[in-house]
């Protein structure tokens, strides 16, 4: 089975801190995604990547950056955390060739910024 692992289940950070959320997948998938999920808003795409060192902005990239130095790892960076970035963050991976675009999700990181 595909495994998508997010480094932390729960995280509490202070306003202004630089925050790193890590995601690792073990199935050599080309595509990786970062979403945030807020009540009533569903999942909103922050950034996605379709290859190493390649990244594309999603619907809400402001305040975030990403890094994909290795195929299996996709990092989401909050440059200066703010309280409005308190949310559930979900990472996913997929492969057009292997999964037909079906995405596999990690368990999520619930980030609280105080």
């Amino acid at each position: 089975d595909v495994k998508v692992t997010q480094s932390s289940r729960y995280l509490v950070k202070r306003t202004g801190e630089k925050v790193f959320l890590e995601c690792v997948q073990d199935m050599d998938h080309e595509n990786m995604f970062w979403y945030r999920q807020d009540p009533g808003l569903g999942l909103r795409l922050i950034y996605f990547s379709y290859d190493v060192k390649m990244k594309e902005k999603g619907d809400i990239p402001e305040g975030y950056s990403v890094s994909r130095e290795k195929k299996e790892r996709f990092s989401l960076i909050l440059e200066s955390a703010s309280t409005n970035q308190t949310s559930m963050y979900l990472c996913a991976s997929s492969s057009p060739r292997r999964t037909g675009g079906r995405a596999f999700f990690g368990q999520g990181t619930r980030l609280t910024v105080v």
Binding site: N31, G42, L43, D59, R102
Partner: protein, 113 residues
């Protein structure tokens, strides 16, 4: 803006009844997928329908796709209390090598025993 929008936002039915959820989207797609999320957990893929398909079945799930109306529906037949969850549609759009997967806001389904 959201690519996919689910309707209704919330649905409450009795065990044994059928549940129907709808999804509308805005742009041309490669495929449309439905996912399920139990409270506080990650999403689990349920079913995928390609843009050239009109209907697909998987167990108690039936998905339809109408590309002319840019809409899809998910039908869960003979619902069970364990089907209680949030359901999301997601559209896959290709742009060159990029494959963007965009989700809607979801339908919260409650199945009462």
């Amino acid at each position: 803006s959201q690519q996919g929008e689910e309707d209704p936002q919330a649905l409450s039915i009795q065990e044994g009844e059928n549940a129907t959820m709808n999804c509308s989207y805005k742009t041309s797609i490669n495929n449309l997928q439905w996912y399920r999320q139990n409270s506080g957990r990650g999403l689990v893929h349920l079913i995928l329908i390609r843009s050239n398909e009109r209907e697909k079945h998987s167990g108690r799930l039936r998905v339809t796709l109408d590309t002319s109306k840019k809409s899809s529906s998910l039908l869960i037949t003979a619902s069970r209390a364990a089907d209680t969850a949030s359901y999301f549609c997601a559209t896959l759009i290709s742009s060159g090598s990029a494959r963007q997967l965009t989700f809607g806001s979801g339908t919260q389904l409650t199945v009462l025993p």
